[in-house]
Symmetry: C2
Subunit: 208 residues, 2 copies
DNA sequence: GAGGCTAGTGACAGCCACTGACAATTGACA
DNA sequence: TGTCAATTGTCAGTGGCTGTCACTAGCCTC
């Protein structure tokens, strides 16, 4: 962020994200046109598309920042932790420090509202899920390297990450279904669901 | 499929699906316009949209039939089976009998080619994944009823299905990555990944 | 500090997915 | 056979997205 040019560019991009999220969370995603967003920031529609590959990308831009944050947390977990525990700690750390990451662009509250728009807008949810599978691939590679395994020869990293990813998406979905829950509720759900994975596989449900 | 009207309608729909899949698998999804498909069947573009809510839906139409087939198989599993085992048997049964389901509309080989187009086309993959989460919700309800549980009070059905779903999506992804594998390879991957879920969670990877 | 270079932008034209409205046609059924 | 309902084609329009081209503004060199 040195030159004036780069600063201006960053400011335009942030302004577009803010305007987009503000509009999406009030008028809805489909109810907002790209022209609306561009007009709110006073740039041309063409310029919007020079910053984002599509309307979706603008909607998911802040989310993407939190993903990078989470991946960083995973990479910095101590090597002695078991793989699943490393993932668990990294997500929890992610929720706990989400505030700082998000607030550099938009208020946390706007981010949470946008989260719900994503969950409730089919095309956004779809894009979010697709991105999640890409993240799973990255995660599998990180874990494989951690454990000194070849991710293409040993299926275990991918299987573990698949299980973890499945539970994370369940967490998001249920957090959304819960209504207007906050980050603390998200954290609690994460803990709760992850600790059920083991027991649930035994299958002796009728005799608790 | 009684009246002439219903038969004609079904024939038009099947023709659209066949034409769509044929074009998608040769020219690619993005490289095919709705007009192309409509023209191939000699109907207007407007008519296409009376049969499908969008280009995506036509691309996923055959897949949707296999989903219904799978859900039926789950519902008919004997009640004494443990939940995860019921899911496991139902998927395997699904792969084994896929042929009969698919061939009523398109050749199996075309379906498999289309499967690869879905996996490699971002917007289609996204739509497919979103549909998968809806299926998971249905599955959780089926399992809950099976076990006499309240799906909203007891998280276990959803957690189990989330794990299962995660592994299934991994299966699809790896099957695609394998290149030009057939249904038997898909079946083998399913078995292999599911039996690794238990061991993988213990986390003692470095001492096999 | 003048002039050239390049990134960023606006304006315009055009493609394609998708929708609403209306008129024409065709099968169903009394 | 005539009426009703379902199906279809045509047309017009919206919105996401892209290519092109000329213009401006920050950057860098001499």
């Amino acid at each position: 962020m040195e030159t004036l040019r780069e600063r201006k560019r960053q400011r335009t991009r942030d302004a577009l994200v803010r305007a987009a999220l503000e509009l999406f969370t009030t008028r809805g995603y489909e109810g907002t046109t790209v022209d609306d967003i561009a007009e709110a920031v006073d740039v041309s529609q063409r310029t919007f598309f020079r910053y984002f590959a599509g309307k979706e990308q603008a909607a998911l831009a802040v989310h993407e920042m939190t993903v990078e944050h989470f991946l960083g947390a995973v990479r910095e977990r101590p090597p002695h932790e078991a793989p699943m525990e490393a993932l668990r700690q990294a997500v929890l750390e992610g929720w706990d420090t989400l505030n700082e990451v998000v607030e550099s662009v938009v208020p946390l509250e706007l981010f949470l509202r946008m989260f719900r728009v994503i969950e409730s807008t089919p095309v956004l949810l779809a894009a979010h899920l697709r991105r999640s599978t890409e993240i799973e691939d990255t995660l599998a590679r990180i874990l494989a390297e951690r454990e000194g395994l070849d991710v293409d020869a040993d299926p275990r990293p991918r299987v573990l990450v698949a299980v973890f990813g499945g539970v994370m998406r369940l967490t998001e979905r249920q957090w959304y279904a819960d209504g207007d829950a906050g980050l603390d509720a998200m954290r609690a759900l994460t803990v709760s669901y992850l600790e059920q994975v083991g027991p649930v596989l035994t299958g002796a449900w009728r005799t608790p």
